[in-house]
């Protein structure tokens, strides 16, 4: 598998990751170390609110003008905030790159954050929170699961923030957070696809004058080793009750992450997975069952779910889920299946410049190496059954489980 890149420092103190490949577009991404884990109680969700405000105008562009212009050029744009970072991106025809860089530089160096826009956008973010969390039983249960599983580390609170914190956001607080975190040394650029030759000089030209060092964050609290299962029960207006389950596992760069991803494939991936075959197909206890690893920098959350079919009790479903999760056995085809699936996903994501950029960016952000996903693939190829079984027993065991049960009102 071919993957070549250049990682170049810029004059203004940032770095540019360039990945050239055949594509009808260039994916331009700006990665900022500004995710929810850098927030504090009282300002949870400020990273996400700031991401919204970055679309509300800068010195030379009115509110949403940046977004509208990218659309006019036929490009795709957006931004997303996660636990560890905020990423802004445009996928665009290569000859428009200069205009994109110019607009991005304007909002990173000279954002407006106008008061009236700030107040209006708080309302929009509240609606987003309702859409994703308050009005969705699955969203609510996911929020509960993170809060249950992470009790010391800031992964405890939701990326979008607690509702009361969103209501209390102040423009001054937002500005302070922006000045602290949105610095060149705290960010990097990714250019992937058909990258014009002058891309670096364009960045140097338009981002000249952007200043600030890498934030010296105090160490974040470590999650103490869990001593006993935790459980939460919620009552909601649902016709089909469901169960969410989560185990705290190591972060994206840890060597156990890859070994756990093999277990993930075995237990949760597709209709041939153990959970689907057992809970949905053979026992008929669930209409859906699955899970995955929610990858993050400091820790990950290995989660599972089952939506009750109405046959049996929710406890029956929970018990069946636990039995599958703790059935520490591997059949040879399952190792092979995991390898093939990860290889297929890697090839598939390399077919899109945007996803290639995201994979490389994730590696650079968390592990300092854009080619991390290739190293992981290699580790997966060499993984031995015994080491997979060992991490399985170590992380997915009794006493480390976090369970959220959601029942209907009647």
């Amino acid at each position: 598998m071919e993957f070549h890149y250049e990682l170049i420092p810029t004059d203004f103190g940032s770095r540019v990751l360039i990945i050239r490949r055949q594509a009808p577009l260039v994916s331009f991404q700006i990665w900022v170390r500004a995710g929810s884990k850098y927030e504090k109680p009282g300002i949870t969700g400020i990273s996400h609110m700031l991401e919204h405000m970055m679309f509300k105008g800068s010195q030379n562009y009115g509110p949403q003008e940046h977004a509208k212009r990218v659309q006019e050029l036929g490009g795709e744009f957006n931004a997303f905030t996660s636990h560890d970072k905020t990423v802004y991106f445009e996928n665009i025809a290569p000859h428009y790159l200069e205009e994109i860089i110019k607009m991005e530089a304007d909002r990173f160096l000279r954002p407006s954050f106008a008061s009236e826009e700030f107040l209006r956008e708080k309302e929009v973010v509240m609606e987003e929170r309702k859409l994703r969390t308050d009005n969705s039983p699955y969203g609510k249960a996911e929020e509960e699961l993170f809060a249950l599983a992470f009790q010391a580390h800031p992964y405890h609170w939701p990326i979008i923030g607690w509702a009361s914190d969103i209501e209390n956001f102040s423009r001054d607080g937002l500005l302070e957070y922006f000045r602290l975190r949105y610095t060149p040394a705290n960010s990097f650029f990714v250019l992937c696809g058909h990258v014009p030759e002058d891309a670096l000089s364009l960045l140097e030209k338009y981002f000249k004058g952007w200043e600030g060092g890498r934030v010296q964050d105090p160490p974040l609290p470590s999650e103490p080793e869990q001593k006993g299962n935790r459980r939460s029960e919620m009552i909601m207006d649902v016709k089909l009750p469901f169960v969410f389950m989560g185990f705290v596992t190591p972060g994206y760069c840890h060597r156990d992450f890859v070994l756990l991803s093999i277990i993930d494939r075995v237990l949760t991936e597709g209709e041939s997975s153990r959970l689907w075959q057992s809970l949905v197909h053979r026992k008929g206890l669930a209409i859906k069952a699955g899970g995955g690893i929610y990858p993050m920098g400091d820790y990950s959350l290995f989660f599972f779910y089952g939506v009750s079919s109405g046959k049996g009790t929710l406890e029956n479903l929970e018990q069946a889920l636990v039995e599958e999760i703790t059935d520490y056995k591997l059949r040879p085809p399952e190792m092979e299946k995991a390898r093939n699936q990860v290889l297929a996903e890697t090839v598939s994501s390399l077919e899109r410049a945007y996803y290639t950029g995201l994979s490389a960016g994730e590696g650079l952000l968390n592990c300092g190496e854009p080619e991390t996903f290739l190293h992981q693939l290699e580790q997966l190829r060499r993984a031995k059954e015994e080491e997979v079984l060992e991490v399985w027993r170590r992380y997915l065991r009794e006493g480390r489980r976090n369970t959220v049960l959601v029942r209907g009102e009647e």
Binding site: M1, A23, P24, L25, P63, A67, K68, Q71, E72, L73, G74, G75, E76, N91, I92, A93, Y96, R120, E121, E123, V124, E127, E128, K130, L131, D134, N135, S136, P137, M236, D237, V238, K239, L240, G270, E271, S272, S273, Q277, V280, H281, G284, I287, V307, S309, G310, P333, E336, K337, N340, Q341, V342, L343, A344, E345, V347, S348, E351, R352, A353
Partner: protein, 444 residues
Amino acid sequence: MEEIPEGGKEEYSSGKGGRMMFSRKFILKGNVKVALHHRSSDSLSLRIITKGGRALDPELKEGTTSLMASLLLHGCKGKPYEKVVEELEGTGTSLYFSPALESIQVSFWALREFAMKGLEILRDCMEAPDFPEEELERERQRAIAELRRIWDEPEEAASRIFSGRVFGPHPYSRLDTEKSLKNILREDLRERFLNSFRSASTYMALAGREEDMEQALQILLPVFREGETELSLPQPSAASMRIYFYLKEDAEQVQIRMGHPSFPRSYPHYEEAMVLNYILGGGGFSSRLMERIRAKEGLTYSIRSSFSPMLRAGLFYISTFTRPENTKKTIEGIIEEVKKVISGGVSQEEVEKARSYFVGHFPLGLETPSQVTSLLASMLFYGLGEDYPEKFIARIKALTPKEVNRVAGELLHPEEFQIAVVGNEMALRELESLGEVERVVPEY
């Protein structure tokens, strides 16, 4: 992207115009129309669209096509379901059957080294599915439970209410229910199956290396049965405005869907409609609905409108959500914007921006093999012509506001909006001030 020579005796019609976007070759194999896109990739992508979707389900047996499609992999040529999915997923191959109203789509993607093995499974399942009784029973029970789950998510509930009413009594609006699912027999699945994947109604697009595509055709083409799938559906008719409401007491947000039947894909002013919709509500932050409902009034996080044309007819719809106390204001604001675009038309500047978007965006959607097969299969299914991408761009570039304004009144009819809302008591009170409200109870 690489070019491949065109023509050859298998080409069913000669390509016209340049191939500015991407290479493509069209051939007729048996009766199946095939499009090929060559690229030196490590994967093989396949898209099949065949006529015959959910709208063809017999009355009182709604859900037959969906059950048939989901059971295609549940045992083929004596190989049990567990083995079928294990062999596919064990090689990282993805294979989906997606039933739409007038068609069934097959999406396949595999690594080169496993592609032929995956295609052989696909062939077996399209040639001789077993439809085992016990699998039918399992999937039926799952489908019935899934009908209940939909009402747990306000977004899904609103979409279901809307889909079930927007086309009135037309088969497009008929939805599966617990009763209809219970009426379906194994013979119904077989009959539905035998009337699908007919060679003259099947369109296929492949992307990958030439030798892989050639081999793929050899494996797959023999499975399509002779003949044609008839889509004898009446035209849906318009109705006057109606409001449907489902009460979800704990809902902190109101989900809103509104729209009416619209034009089929063969509509001669498709490009005008696309530009009109971009300006009204399809163009993200550039659209009038987003500008007014989100940016100016802060009523929502997202709002969009869309035309979805099919073979016989189509759909125009708007979807958004808001706070309960803003239900009336949001709906009135939307209707006002729709009326405004009909009466006041669109401006030169708006049309220029929309044109620029479509011209710039089209090539971006052709990056991956799967994106290309999706476009090629649609081109074949809707009979858009081999030079469709070039013609589409040329037509868009030439559009004027006058042409767009000419179709606005023809395509948008706010007085015929069918409005589906899911929300709490406050949302209901807001709706009642707009007109008569029909309460919906969960349908399953």
